[in-house]
């Protein structure tokens, strides 16, 4: 590797990491939290079979899952202003990523809720518990354990997915790399560097997932 290249890459590294920490991670965390709230609500509405709302939830999941994320980003950021709705780039990204991943995570959560044996709910009722305390103490904790690998998947995919925010002018890590590359023209090296940062971080998340699964496993197998 030439000295020039080494210098370019080592100069780029702190700038990339800075954007990673100040943009990519906050974007991921906020979007994921939004997605989590949406998904739990949407899954619980379907689980409880709330008439009317249920149909709304299916419609939401249908539309989100059957249109591209990129198109959704463009629609909100470039399309909505013509209706007078103007949002900054960062909030737009949080909103779109959250709403988008929320649909997938809602399906993960719904599957997990449905996998909780019906007898758990019935036993709760017979023990004199209310619907909400059964949900809180029994059904949701079990569902979260089942959903955990799927939700981890969503989180990891979201870390990388935030790079799409670059197309609506959010300068997260990937866009920073594009900007630097505009000065130095070292696509192969720079984008490899970016890829490696994603790789390292997502590997950490993978380890974290494995640790979390062990933690959640305290109560052993389901008989």
């Amino acid at each position: 590797m030439s000295e020039r290249l080494i210098r370019i890459l080592s100069d780029a590294l702190p700038q990339l990491l800075e954007k990673f920490v100040t943009m990519t991670i906050p974007l991921t965390v906020l979007s994921f939290l939004l997605a989590l709230v949406i998904s739990v609500a949407v899954a619980m509405i379907q689980y409880a079979d709330v008439k009317g709302l249920r149909l709304l939830c299916r419609g939401y999941i249908w539309i989100i899952r059957c249109t591209p994320l990129l198109v959704q980003l463009y629609l909100v950021f470039y399309g909505l202003p013509s209706l007078g709705i103007v949002l900054d780039a960062f909030p737009t990204a949080v909103l779109v990523f959250g709403v988008n991943e929320g649909a997938y995570m809602a399906e993960t959560m719904r599957g997990a809720l449905e996998a909780v044996p019906a007898g758990q709910m019935e036993a709760g009722y017979c023990a004199g518990l209310s619907y909400w305390s059964i949900m809180g103490h029994v059904v949701l904790p079990q569902a979260f354990r089942t959903a955990f690998p799927g939700l981890s998947n969503s989180l990891i995919s979201m870390v990388k997915g935030t790079s799409l925010a670059s197309v609506i002018t959010v300068t997260e890590m990937f866009r920073q790399a594009v900007v630097i590359n505009g000065r130095v023209y070292e696509s192969l090296a720079l984008y490899t560097e970016v890829a490696l940062i994603y790789l390292v971080f997502c590997s950490l998340l993978t380890l974290l997932q494995r640790w979390g699964e062990k933690k959640l496993n305290v109560y052993g197998g389901v008989r």
């Binding site: 036993a123 004199g128 518990l129 305390s133």
Partner: protein
């Protein structure tokens, strides 16, 4: 204490009615065994009585109050359930909670008993079924017999007026049935009111005081257990007793 009258129930998509006018009467301290061949509607009856299923029609008198079983509102259902307990065939312990929490949850969350008192009562109940030393274990690590005993502890800790059992020993390996039955026998001797769906003829004959024999959604015969086993009134009861006792002798 509990009386149900003319309970009817059919399931969607199934033409035949599963319960066709079932009535029964349970007095305080009674241990009533519900007997009958598979598919006769015993489980469905218990589930209707505890509102896990909605009866199509029927009247229930519990603690002097009369309820239309088809239309009881949710808050009243919950009030009735707090005075009763249910022991399931497959235990249905809360899988993510320890044995102790399985017993306390209905007290702390369901009945607003303070945590400390709930734990004292739970430990008493667990001692009664011989499961106190497993208080910190999770249900998944227990044998079926142990799980069922915990589920009985969960039932009695709530100090219910009446406990329903739906074939509490049918999911158990033969060598584990005895430990559960003996816990139930002690409960009966202590005066607990119990309504028990069972295929255990020993229990029906010697522990229960009343028998309700069902077939195809109707009560064929009911009365004191002695009389039922010594001098069954109907040909159907005679045939049932013969077939069941026959099986047992073989085992």
């Amino acid at each position: 204490m509990l009386q149900v009258k003319d309970v009817y129930k059919s399931f969607e998509g199934k033409g035949q009615e599963v319960l066709r006018g079932v009535s029964l009467h349970v007095n305080k301290g009674d241990v009533t065994a519900i007997l009958g061949p598979s598919g006769s509607g015993k489980t469905t009856l218990l589930r209707c009585i505890n509102f896990l299923e909605r009866a199509d029609s029927g009247t229930m008198i519990f603690d002097g109050q009369t309820y239309d079983m088809h239309r009881v509102p949710k808050d009243q259902i919950r009030r009735i359930r707090k005075k009763t307990a249910f022991v399931f065939q497959n235990y249905n312990l809360f899988l993510n909670q320890t044995v102790l929490n399985n017993v306390t949850l209905g007290l702390t969350s369901g009945r607003k008993v303070p945590r400390e008192e709930a734990e004292t009562r739970a430990m008493q109940a667990l001692r009664r079924v011989g499961m106190a030393e497993k208080a910190a274990a999770y249900p998944g690590s227990l044998s079926g017999g142990q799980q069922q005993r915990v589920s009985i502890a969960r039932a009695i800790a709530a100090e219910p007026e009446l406990i329903y059992f739906d074939e509490p020993t049918s999911a158990l390996d033969p060598e584990l049935i005895g430990e559960v039955l003996s816990v139930m026998r002690e409960l009966a001797q202590d005066g607990m009111t119990m309504l028990v769906v069972t295929h255990e003829m020993e229990f029906a004959r010697h522990v229960s005081s009343q028998v309700v024999f069902m077939e195809q959604g109707v009560v064929v015969e009911s009365g004191p257990s002695e009389a039922f086993f010594e001098a069954p009134k109907t040909e159907r009861s005679r045939a049932f007793i013969r077939s069941i006792l026959g099986q047992h002798e073989i085992r």
